[in-house]
Subunit: 603 residues, 2 copies
């Protein structure tokens, strides 16, 4: 097979480069210099050297062996893609799988383990360094595995920057910067370094197309009391945009100019985010701080003030979201109708054609920009693969039976959507209906929860799981993630997960509500809406918050086992469906309205 | 008033002593050298210098001023007890209350802040030191405020030690020590220092009466691969006991001999618990470790292996608990009957007489030792004071109306109990019944929850609160604490609280389930049972655990608003009452049985 020999050739070249530099082991993660979840092609070094194209994975290469760790979402794909490359798959989360550290332990003491400091956060590097030191290994953080090996490496992306007008953002960059300054003053800082692309995009009301699905721009930014500087490929920023930015004392400098800029500054005390700043940049700043009369910094863990400000949506953003949900709902209603008609008309419909058709319907909507992530459209057993993406190799034809899971989302100029519906294509089993209804009960419990100020997502998570737990079932993913506003579909700092996260849910935060159940080899079920946190009560016991469901699309009533729904749950479902009908129908044709009326009928 | 001048005199003497030693500020916490919740009289230094007798509080004394911090449980009591002493009460948890750190910030730089390293844990001392250094203050940890001031200071308690036979403990000290050794080997340690009195009592199957309500013995212990040594006032340990201990290679040495013993040891690597070891001991060990060829140590945060082993009850302990619950249930049934009769007979019954009568009934039960904590018997508005203890000053006469909250517990040789019942003494309002039923719904939700292996108490806590939250209500205490087996009524490491705690709930752990609601100035409601975690299911999704309710006492049906209970909740209540009747009736007289039959009737 051609691909495997290509990968073997690349690894051979890398090993020569390692030997030349006295390196015995090299660790390559999936991230980029900005700790992005989705990375530009330029930074897909791990994919280049392993052939594994999944979004998450860590490659460890010694002079003789190579291992790739990835999680359960990608076991099948990784097995296929790694086959023949000599790279050994390490299935994360399984009891017998050794960790990266276990493998490092076996190395000869005083071996050099090399990594590229540009793609490790300060926090990750500190953890790695501690592990290596514990095993008497030497870490070398200045090793770029791609250097002199990856000859046709794609350049950094060069999509032009566009400004995101206040009409959509609801707040000027100048106002945001003012808030950020007042936040960092609490830590006695007069400057903040931003490395996360979505934080930069949000702060400066700036968008681009550097990363698929995420409208961000590759850049760094520094905000000081004097000015703000965006470090970015200068060709991407037009003269007009520069002039507008200048009004808020925002300057543009070259992408490589952050350290040179800092080297001539004085009296700066910079807030640095340990989780989002890459180690190479940090290490240069550390060096600068050691010189006389130069800058100081503090390294902070936990969410950055920008992350929290960004997570709490303002009024303009909230009403943008609501409009985007209506448009998305219309596209979904059209898709569901089309699917129903096509299947009953005997047409050949595949997972991929569902995805294509939905993009077509979303494209008809005003202000649609593109997809917010790669759609997951999984029929029958494919639905049980949590991050399944249909491809030519796997694409399944839909039949008039069983379950179809569709997790899709769009980027609109006034909002980002992410919604999952699981629908019956015909006859379904009792088990399917029962599972669906347990998931629905959990979804409703979270959607209707009230909770006092200060409550964390990890406290609420159980509400979505308890009906499943009661029957010995669970799902191994989070219940809810934050979502950006015409930004990344996954954003922090809040979430609703099993794992502890100290960030509390605050009014204005938008989070997903997506419990599910996955029957391996059979089917998958997930019901996902976006929910907006808001204050619902104030009593002598304090402020209480709750959620407003934002997503608008019918939930398949033919899958509901009505007997196990409580009166309150039925009421929620009926009210939700009434809202879906009322909000979507003005945007629908008569035929579509009739269809939706039936799908949202009272139970 | 005499008391206030006594306190003023003591403070004056302390200030002279401070001045003589160049100390400008002194901080006195409530704890003892073993980080106990309840401390022997010897260590009640904070009470001695402030006159405040509550269990929790921190006293800060400067040459001019004095402040006492305590939490909401003690606001009223502290106001009363501090009045006239010149000590300013700082109400913890209120928005405008400065913290200890805020007060320290105001001190002149380079001032000396003195503390007694014997009553601060390593962790607390590190935190304090960091705060002081941040404010350019000098910390002196060798200052005993009582020295040369507290002339009639009570000596260390000297109750004799008794062994806790294997018939009750279910496991010999030798077996426990073996398990502990294998746990510490995981950290590459060959020794462990124990400072927590309940951990020592559990490990060596040893009990005493050094602390009120807690059957523990003041001591330290060191377990090494060669032997185990208990450092204790040697007079407390009889010759017979020593001989028995010797069989498991357990030796006894003087209470002050830990450091001398360590100073002649070699090749020890000691596990030290940062949260439970006092700073003075730690600091001496640190010194020893700096000498050539001497001992090493590692300082660990998080629960100790002994704490976890102790928390998971063995079969003998579980059946002991069950027997103790039956005896406790009988005593409570008799109390409730007596109370009903006495009130309807027009007798004068007060909060304190309820407490006394219950002790009388408990004393009739086999193997009863004493109370496990100071009873909380709060009528009407007193029920809203979460840690109320009736005294001559506050003792209220009961009327034939309103709510009585009784939170009490007993130490039995085969178990420790802790139970709260809230009962109607006559007519009650709709609000009372509604509140009671919301609390009951939460209690049932936790009691009936199933959850996967690895679930933490902080994830389950919401189940007990959600019905209250839904109506804008909450309670500001934990939902559940661990409980010892003929040991401390509060023990870790697991709990069920709002706050994150990384320890998961494991089968064999016994925890309380005690949601409540407190209407300030009106009434308090709490329903508390002890619950035993156990495996309930194993599926393809893993192991699932649930709880068995251990406490046996009817829940007042006259307070239940049946309309808001679900079918499942009614079923739980009926089943619980059936169990209460079946388990208690063989121990009751015919009259008592008839009474209980009525109180546990199906709804």
């Amino acid at each position: 097979m051609k691909n495997t020999s290509v990968v073997r050739g690349r690894l051979a070249k890398l090993r020569l480069s390692m030997q030349a530099k006295g390196v015995s082991t090299c660790v390559i993660p999936s991230s980029d210099a900005h700790q992005s979840e989705y990375t530009p092609e330029h930074w897909k070094t791990r994919t280049y050297f392993s052939g594994f194209s999944g979004s998450a994975g860590t490659l460890l290469i010694t002079l003789q062996e190579a291992y790739l760790w990835t999680d359960s979402r990608y076991f099948l794909q990784a097995e296929r893609e790694l086959s023949g490359t000599g790279i050994i798959l390490q299935k994360e989360g399984l009891k017998d799988t050794p960790t990266v550290e276990d493998c490092l332990k076996k190395l000869t003491p005083n071996s050099v383990v090399a990594v590229d400091g540009w793609v490790f956060s300060v926090k990750e590097m500190e953890t790695l360094r501690e592990k290596l030191q514990r095993n008497n290994l030497i870490v070398y953080s200045g090793f770029d595995p791609a250097e002199n090996v990856w000859e046709d490496r794609p350049p950094l992306p060069n999509s032009p920057v566009f400004l995101f007008p206040e009409e959509f953002s609801g707040e000027s960059a100048g106002e945001k910067i003012k808030k950020i300054k007042s936040e960092i003053a609490k830590d006695n800082c007069n400057a903040i370094l931003l490395c996360a692309l979505d934080e930069i995009a949000w702060t400066f009301n700036m968008r681009g197309n550097d990363v698929p699905c995420n409208p961000v721009v590759v850049s760094y930014a520094l905000i000081t009391s004097e000015e703000s500087v965006i470090f970015i490929d200068e060709k991407k920023v037009s003269h007009e945009i520069r002039e507008i930015l200048q009004q808020d004392h925002i300057r543009v400098a070259g992408y490589d100019c952050l350290i040179p800029y800092l080297s001539v500054q004085k009296n700066l005390k910079i807030r640095i985010d340990a989780g989002k700043t890459n180690y190479a940049i940090y290490s240069s700043i550390q060096d600068l701080s050691k010189e006389k009369n130069k800058i100081e910094f503090i390294l902070k863990e936990g969410p950055s003030p920008v992350g929290i400000l960004k997570a709490v949506k303002n009024e303009t953003e909230v009403s943008g979201f609501k409009d985007a949900m209506e448009k998305d709902g219309v596209a979904l209603v059209r898709l569901l109708m089309w699917l129903e008609k096509s299947l009953s008309g005997g047409k050949n419909i595949s997972e991929m054609s569902v995805e294509e058709k939905l993009i077509e319907f979303r494209k008809e909507q005003p202000l649609y920009v593109g997809k917010s992530f790669n759609a997951i459209v999984g029929y029958q057993e494919h639905g049980a693969i949590i991050h399944y993406n249909a491809s030519e190799n796997t694409n399944k034809l839909l039949q008039k039976e069983g379950l179809l899971l569709m997790d899709t989302g769009g980027q609109y100029f006034n909002g980002t959507t992410d919604i999952t519906r699981t629908i019956a294509l015909g006859e379904v089993s009792k088990e399917m209906k029962h599972d669906f209804t347990l998931v629905l009960k959990g979804h409703i419990a979270l959607a209707t929860a009230y909770f006092p100020q200060g409550t964390r997502g990890s406290q609420l998570d159980v509400l979505a799981r308890k009906y499943l737990w009661q029957e010995g079932l669970t799902y191994m993913h989070g219940t809810g993630h934050g979502i950006g506003y015409f930004l990344n579909v996954h954003e922090g700092p809040q979430n609703i997960r099993l794992e502890e996260n100290a960030v509390s849910i605050e009014p204005g935060m938008v989070t997903s509500n997506e419990p599910g159940i996955y029957r391996s080899g059979k089917y998958g079920i997930r019901i996902e809406n976006l929910i907006l946190a808001k204050q619902v009560k104030e009593t002598e016991y304090g402020k209480f918050y709750g959620f407003e469901t934002l997503s608008l699309c019918p939930i398949d009533l033919s899958l509901v086992e009505q007997e196990i729904l409580s009166k309150e749950e039925k009421k929620w479902l009926n009210q939700y469906h009434q809202t879906v009908f009322e909000r979507l129908s003005p945007r629908l044709s008569e035929e579509e309205k009739d269809w939706l009326k039936e799908k949202t009928k009272e139970i």
